[in-house]
Structure formats: C-alpha cells, structure tokens
Symmetry: C2
Subunit: 342 residues, 2 copies
Amino acid sequence: MAKVGLKDIAAQTGFSIATVSHALRNPDRVADATRKKVLAAAEAAGYTPNNLAVSLRTARSGNIVVIIPDIADSHNSNIIKAIEKVARERGYSVLLGDSQGSEKREREFARMARTRQADGVILMSHRLPFDRKPGEPVSKLPPIVNGCEYTGHDDLPQIGIDDYQAGLDATRHLLDYGHRQIAVITGDIETHSTRERLRGFNDAMTAAGVTVNDDHVIQLGYTLEDGIAGAQQLMALPSRPSAIFCFSDEIAFGAMYALREMGIDVPGDVSIIGCDNIPLARYFSPPLTTIAQPTAEIGAACATLLLDIIDGNPPTEPRVVVPHELKIRESTRRLDASAANR
Amino acid sequence: MAKVGLKDIAAQTGFSIATVSHALRNPDRVADATRKKVLAAAEAAGYTPNNLAVSLRTARSGNIVVIIPDIADSHNSNIIKAIEKVARERGYSVLLGDSQGSEKREREFARMARTRQADGVILMSHRLPFDRKPGEPVSKLPPIVNGCEYTGHDDLPQIGIDDYQAGLDATRHLLDYGHRQIAVITGDIETHSTRERLRGFNDAMTAAGVTVNDDHVIQLGYTLEDGIAGAQQLMALPSRPSAIFCFSDEIAFGAMYALREMGIDVPGDVSIIGCDNIPLARYFSPPLTTIAQPTAEIGAACATLLLDIIDGNPPTEPRVVVPHELKIRESTRRLDASAANR
DNA sequence: CTCCCGATGTGAAACGTTTAACATGCCGCA
DNA sequence: TGCGGCATGTTAAACGTTTCACATCGGGAG
C-alpha cells in the first residue's frame, strides 16, 4: 500500500488535482459524471486524505487535548469518556494528557495547542498551563475550558458542581444524623474545589452551632492511600470523630479500609461520606454515601463549550454549574445515644 | 500573539529561513554567533514550530493511537498510563480511542494511522481494525501491536500474560483449598484471553479428577454488572458452587456485592477469586484474591514494541509474555467439612 | 448575431517546515 | 600563487492539500 495522493488519482482520471479535490470535498462544484469517475478511482486506489496536509492548509487539526491529573481515577476517566463521545460526534479526536499532577507535564501538553497539533484544551487542573500576560484577553489564549477546577482566571469558561454547596450538603447530612464530632479528609488544598468544600463544611458546622476541632481536618491528597493515612491519623486522636467527610470516594474507600483493619465498624462506629459517586461506590461494602457528580454532563459540557469556542461561538456565560446530588447509602448511620458516648 | 513562523524570525535576524531552521534544529550546521542570535530572537518572539508542517515534511506525526474497549476500567487505564509514560519519553503523544467495544469505532480510530495523523496503533481488542488481504505481509499494515488480546493474526506483535496458565493457576488455588464445586463467570467469550482462561480452568479441573458442572460456567461480559448477574444465576442453582473464579476483578466485585445482598458470606460461604489485580482489589471488603497482571510492564512493552517498529526495528520475537502472579488475600478460604456439606 | 452568464475545469499560490544542492569566502598548504 | 577543502550561509524543491482567480465553453436572452 504505497501512499496514494490526490496527484495519483488526478493522473489516473485525467483531471487536475484541483478538480479531484473539489470532487471529493465540494461535490457541487463539479459535474456529476466527473464526481462519479473521481470517486470510483479514489475508491479503487484506496485513497485516504493526508490529514496533516489538510490541517496545515486549513489551520485546523481536528484534535483537542484534555489534561487530567490521573486517568486511572474512575471519576476522571468517566469524564474523559463523555468528552470523547461529544468530540467524536463533532468530528474531533481527543488527545489524552495524563499529567500526574505535574505542572511541567501540563505545560507540555498545553503546548500542543500552540504548535497547532490541537485546536483547544480541556483543563482539569487548577493552574493555567501557560503564561498569561497581565491584562491579556482570553481571546488571545488558545481555546480552553476549565473543568471541575478553578484557575483563578474568572474569564475562562468553567464547568463544575457548586463545591461550596456540596460541602454544605454533605456536612448537613452528617449533622442531620446527629453527628457532632465530624472530621474531614480533604483533597489537595491547593485546589479551589477543595477549599470551597472545606468552606462549606465549616459554614455548615458553625451554622449548626458546633465548633470544629482543628485536629479533625486532615489535609492530604485525593487518593485512596491518603484516605488510609487520614483515617489512621484521626483514630489515633484522643477525641475520635464519629463521622468523616472524605473529599473523594477514593479517600473514602481508603478510610473504610483503614477503619476495617483497625476493627472499627462503618457505619456502626464511624459514618463515612464520600464525594464523586464513582461507579463502584454503590457496590462497595458498605455501599458508600456520597455526593454524586454528573460526570457525563460535565464531560459533555466541557467538550461542547470548547468546540463552540473553537468554532467561534464563545459562551455568553463562562461558568456552567451542573447539579450534584446527595446519595444516601449505608456508610452513614444516625448516631444513637450509645455511640455518642464513645 | 499572532502566529510567528520561521519566516518572521528570519526577517528579524536578517538570516534566511534555512539558516534559522538549521540554527534551531541542527546547531552544528551554523556558526555560534548566528545560533545565539537566532535563539534569542526566537525566544523573544515566542516562536513555536508548527508541528503539523514538521510532520508533513518529515512524514512522522509523533502520535500513536491506543484503541481500548473501556477507559473507565481501571485495569485498562493503568495500561494506558504506562503506555503514555513510555511514549512521552520517546517523544510521542498518545491519542486515546475508547471504542466501547464497537468495531465501527475501532476502525474509525485505526484510520488515523492511515491518514498519517498517527504513526502506529496499539490495539487492545481481539479483531483487526482494518481489512487485511489474505497473504498481505504484516509490513504492509500500519505499525501495530496487540495488547492483552489475540486477533488470530500470528504475525502481529502481541503482549500479554499466559492466559491459559493464569486459568490453571487460579483454579488450582481453589482446588488446593479443597473446593470441588467451582464455578466460573467468564468475560466476553469472543476473546482469546477468555477462551484460554477457560481452557486452563477445564484442564485444571479434569487433572484434579473433578468434572465441571455445565451450569457452573456462566458466559457474560467483563463488567461489574455481569458479575452481579452471574452470581445471582449461580446461587439460584440447586447445586450451588462453593467457589467462583471470576475472569476480571470487576466481575468479582459484582459477584461479591450480589452475594452480600443475598446474605451469603465471602469467603465464609463462597470463595471468590478475580483476575487483573486492579488497585482497589486489595482494599475491597474482603480483600480480593486475584491473578495480578503487571499493567505497567504490559503498557511499557506495548509502547516500546510499537515505537521500535515505527523506528524500523521490528521485534524478532512477536509474542511477549509477561508474568502474572497469584495474590492470595481474604476472599478465598480453605473449605472445611461443615461448609462442604451445604 | 452578440453578449453575458452559469457551469465546469485548471493553474498556481499558499500553509510552515526540512533538506539536498549549491554558492561564497577564507585558510592553509604545496 | 593557486587550489582543495572547510565553515557558513542560501536557494529552492518538496510534503499533500485547499482555494482564489481565471479560462473555457455552450446556451439563452435580446
């Protein structure tokens, strides 16, 4: 299979390159008979356009790159899946960038937009992956949307849940269930989402008239291992919490594992609530109470927004808030008198 | 930030385009002073090469596409992560193709190799995503390697564990533990890996002198939901198995969930063994006994092999077998007399 | 019979690089 | 003095398309 180009099929049919190109791309521009002949020849020769050349000429690559901290996290991969679906429907492919949280790698991936290998960027991180001169308008940047996080640039389109409200809701659920000694294991405190959830937590607590114990807020990362470490730390405390609000389901899984290892029952002794509602959450043992994030909606919105920007239709409203939902399952339990006195 | 090209920085420095190109790419080709000037100008102007043009000229896109049935499966996403790492080290980016098991989409992704948007394909599926004329040598196909699966084309490079041996090992473990009523919930029976594992299962059973109950082999898919359905089916049987060999950890999680819902204890009443050893396996409740697949090694081998092929160094030995390992945890238990009589 | 217009086809520039081939000037060596 | 050769720089072709501007032709309107 030697590479066959427009030139070859032009030679075969006797038409010019221009005509062949028109026949293929712009059917009305050419007589019916011509088009048929060209199509037939192209088919027979197994012609496939060289998309690089097309992209070079048209200044459109047909790729978007999504920069995500960890693709192995199923919350993230579900978002990617949704992005991929929308992108594909609109004729784009997605270039995957797993940055492992490294800013350097985020920037490497973002360069693809500069080098025209990609037409835009979906960023699932809290920092802009390129330098922006103060006052530089967003229109000068490569097309970009910011998913689930916040970079501090208000004019960038963003998609995500209302993290403050999510923090509020999760905490209220625990308060409703009678808990007062409530701990949190946060995600990366650098991120806006974490800070907002934490703010929600604090506000809910003070609104309920309970002061939060400083030892009860553990700032680690979003991983399962962080959940283990956090739970261990918490349970070593003189004043053990009766409930833990974990800022991701992974953290919650880790915490539940650690508690189980310590012989502490969930939810008998300690209630656990997570965040994300990854697919496994409802099948865990015990099924995890959590704040559900609509990953499909988030991914679809990210992709739609970005492609609209690329197409020259910037959104009127940069911030899209998608709804979250408290899923009450079995990892949280109403605190009864006996447990309260532990 | 208007796009600045070689031309612009040539104009600025007074050198020709060719010299600028050389200064950037081929430092020895040019006087020291010249290079410094060019570099400085490029830096100042914020020059970034247009990789499309580079690719077009050099006939090398710097992308590889990986076609995978489901990126949200953490076994898969860990492999992707490893691929991505190696690819990046060697100057390639990975284009992600989540095919959702659809052959049509597999083919769409594979076309990228034909249209020169990608230099090669890593295929995690059991069918070739393009037509191959009988007798057509593998060298005529786009560079491709086949991970974890088998397409029926012996000359394609393949990477994976020895699935037959894995089936054997898992089954023997159960037999060792005294189980005789052993069931399996397979993955997609269309796939070579599933068939090989099943063959291993059957051989281990007959070698131990136990005949397998036909009702005990349930053929479904690789997902958690399939595990639920399979377990329900199995437990409705008059002759309940005392152990289930699940062909993926997801299946195992589903099965454990279903059993728990039915009030059946794992491993007290039924032992469960999975396959893959996804990160969560050891943290599940109970921690899952499983066959570990070295995802990092698989991914790295896939990427290395493919890039070698692209670089013109086809492997001498097309099949790479990576080692699997039985991880004994708490979801399997030795069958004692009382349980045997259930 | 002219003129104009629409339908159809073509030539050539352009996209931004890389690179083969050639030009220039200088140095050292015989 | 003359010449080969090295160091440095340049010209221009090529990669495979798209697309603007123009050429040609035939036919209908006047």
